[in-house]
């Protein structure tokens, strides 16, 4: 299970291209998200401080991974066959978030100080001034859309992986009886 989560073991066995792009995207995103903690903490935790430069460049790798995944979905006939519109939209949405983020990091700097003040305010239920850079607003809007669809979309695979019986069950059926509640009823009805 740990290997599944950290190095995507099954995917590696399966297909090196999906693995490469998928892993770049997910690990890039992890670093980027951790980096973002600095906007929510005051004072900023030392390790968040430490990963700032890594998080910045990880965003590029994340975009490379996403672009690769999107390209596969369009180019490989098998993957194209199984894709629904939502599969493309989801990728585009995350690419949008990533791209606007990269823009603000490397091209035009947004008013981070006001933003941080606003976010820290939110955490104590106090609405303060939100900076009005258009790119930042687009970035934030797409994040909100993402958060809104998270619980009803395939993005739920994130917690879902922990519940997969093929990965989390203990191999001991000869030593232990595993009888489901509904199956016990079957036995006692005799």
């Amino acid at each position: 299970m740990v290997k599944e989560l950290t190095i995507f073991e099954s995917l590696f066995k399966s297909n090196k291209w999906i693995w490469l792009f998928g892993w770049l995207f997910h690990m890039g995103m992890l670093l980027v998200l951790l980096r973002h903690l600095r906007y929510f903490t005051d004072p900023v935790w030392w390790w968040v401080q430490l990963i700032q430069p890594f998080g910045k460049y990880a965003s590029i790798l994340m975009l490379v991974g996403l672009a690769g995944l999107l390209a596969r979905r369009i180019v490989v006939d098998r993957v194209r066959y199984i894709s629904a519109p939502s599969d493309y939209l989801m990728l585009l949405l995350i690419i949008g978030i990533g791209a606007t983020g990269v823009l603000m990091t490397f091209v035009t700097n947004a008013d981070i100080i006001t933003l941080k003040d606003y976010l820290l305010g939110l955490m104590v239920f106090d609405i303060r001034t939100l900076p009005t850079d258009p790119i930042l607003l687009v970035h934030l809007f797409m994040v909100i859309v993402l958060m809104a669809i998270f619980p009803i979309s395939k993005l739920l695979h994130a917690p879902g992986v922990f519940f997969s019986p093929t990965r989390n069950q203990v191999d001991n059926p000869r030593e232990r009886r595993h009888v489901a509640a509904w199956a016990i009823k079957l036995e006692s009805s005799e």
Partner: protein
């Protein structure tokens, strides 16, 4: 059904992922079960009038019952990792035989009726109403899945198509659209005790004939006991072992091993079947009815241990579910796992030097080994993870001089199904069976050409029947598949004069075996 003409796929030097050909296998579906095979299993005799409602309701019941099913339906991200992993896709090129596409036939209906996004924006998320076309697709393509679980190995979430195809079959059974082959067989096993419908006298006769044959050939009176009360070991083996080739040579092998170990053992005429087709149709109730026969036989005969013969899905049911379905087995000897596989039993005797082999008896063959899907990916042998791979190979290597494995992607956890598993071993699906065997045939051809392999050993009744049927399509000969215990039978050195009760001392050395 009219006989379908089809071309056997060409064997390539190395595996190639084929391009999609829509509806390439849309014409292939098995005979539908008539009323006489449906009602004994508790299913309606024909398609019920309000089948849509019933099907959708049953779907909901199953996702509530099986956490696995719901997780598998919910967590797919359509990454495409599984798309080239199914032997039926590789052999037929039909896109609906890609595991994810097969799942989606069921998933799109689940989404439509049981998820918020599917209820609100079905088109956007690929959700679809249950229609007659969808039902036809279900019947066609959920009978093109052998439930071998190869795709689940490569899925980042471990999504198991087998589980979904079992659920789909259960839904179809519950609306009156069952498959003849499986349901007829389950009916026979539930009334007569085995899939072939062999009654006790016929079985007794067969076993007697075997005793004579073996004594003629070896000069040793190896016994094939039936319904012996008070025997130590109850052997449960697939009924194909009683008459089919090469299965029967495996059965002779088990008998010789028991003989040489001086073990007291018996077959049962009440539970004369290891196979449990209840699993193929995803029916816990039918699976349980069959499993309870084994418990009953063990109680009636007063045995101390249960050992299973060579059968793939039977070992899955035995290893993974028997204790759950028909346990607890607290009336058996606690020193042994319940149940044990015949390979575990033989392997153990080899380790203890109780049985010896003359490997040269198998020198006319160069062997490879076909990991049966259910043994490889849905069960285990021995105490260590991976025992299901090492134990049969150890036995083969102990009994013959020439052994080579097929390429790594085609063995062990990556093994390809024979093409006939999961309740598809029927002549009305012969095209599917031939095409589905393609990846295994390519791997076999590889070792045939590179290592001079002449025979392939297997430990599954379905695999053995399937290969002896489809080998000729690929220019192999049908006798090139052998039972693992056939190799044991050929090479074992018989030192014990009489069978059974005379030599108890040897068996007692074996008590710690596990």
């Amino acid at each position: 059904m009219a006989k379908v003409e089809f071309a056997t796929p060409e064997l390539k030097e190395y595996p190639i992922i084929p391009k999609l050909q829509k509806d390439a296998m849309a014409h292939s579906s098995p005979f539908v079960a008539k009323e006489q095979f449906q009602t004994p299993l508790g299913y309606p005799g024909e398609l019920v009038e309000n089948w849509k409602e019933v099907a959708i309701k049953r779907m909901g019941e199953l996702t509530e019952k099986y956490r696995s099913l719901q997780v598998f339906l919910d967590s797919c991200v359509k990454c495409g990792a599984c798309t080239d992993k199914c032997h039926y896709y590789l052999g037929t090129t039909d896109p609906k035989n890609m595991p994810v596409a097969r799942q989606d036939l069921f998933r799109k209906v689940y989404r439509r009726y049981y998820t918020l996004a599917g209820k609100l924006v079905p088109k956007l998320v690929g959700a679809e109403d249950l229609t007659e076309e969808v039902l036809d697709d279900w019947y066609t393509y959920f009978h093109q899945c052998s439930q071998c679980r190869r795709c689940s190995v490569y899925c980042p979430y471990g999504i198991d198509t087998a589980e979904i195809s079992m659920a789909a079959r259960e839904v179809m059974d519950s609306i009156g659209k069952g498959q003849k082959y499986c349901n007829e067989i389950i009916g026979k096993a539930q009334t007569l005790g085995n899939n072939l419908g062999l009654p006790e006298p016929a079985l007794a006769d067969t076993l007697e004939g075997l005793e004579e044959d073996v004594e003629d050939e070896t000069g040793v009176a190896v016994k094939f006991p039936l319904d012996v009360k008070g025997a130590d070991i109850l052997l449960i083996t697939p009924s194909a072992d009683f008459f089919a080739e090469p299965h029967i040579d495996g059965l002779i092998g088990y008998a010789k091993v028991f003989h040489e170990a001086g073990a007291s053992w018996t077959l049962s005429s009440y539970a004369s079947e290891a196979a449990n087709f209840g699993m193929f149709i995803g029916s816990y109730e039918n699976m349980r009815t069959l499993a309870l026969r084994i418990r009953q036989a063990a109680l009636d005969l007063g045995v101390k241990r249960i050992v299973f013969g060579e059968c793939g899905h039977a070992w899955r049911v035995a290893y993974s579910f028997l204790n759950t379905l028909a346990g607890p087995f607290d009336f058996l000897d606690p020193n042994y796992p319940v149940p044990q596989h015949i390979c575990e039993y033989t392997h153990d005797l080899i380790q203890k030097n109780v049985i010896k082999f003359d490997k040269s008896e198998n020198d006319h063959m160069t062997l490879t080994y076909h990991d049966s899907c259910n043994v490889a990916r849905a069960s285990r042998m021995g105490d260590e993870p991976g025992g299901q791979f090492t134990i049969p190979r150890d036995i083969i290597k102990a009994t013959c001089n020439n052994f080579y494995d097929m390429p790594e992607h085609a063995i062990k956890e990556g093994t390809y199904c024979c093409g006939g598993g999961g309740g598809l071993l029927t002549d009305d699906l012969i095209e599917l069976r031939v095409k589905g065997a393609l990846p295994r045939m390519e791997a076999l051809k590889h070792v045939t050409e590179n290592n001079g392999v002449t025979h392939m050993a297997a430990i599954c009744a379905i695999c053995k029947s399937q290969f002896s049927k489809i080998f000729p399509y690929y220019d192999f000969s049908l006798d090139q598949v052998v039972s693992v215990h056939q190799l044991v039978s050929n090479a074992i050195v018989l030192t014990q004069e009489d069978s059974g009760d005379t030599d108890e001392s040897k068996e007692s050395d074996d008590v710690e075996a596990a």
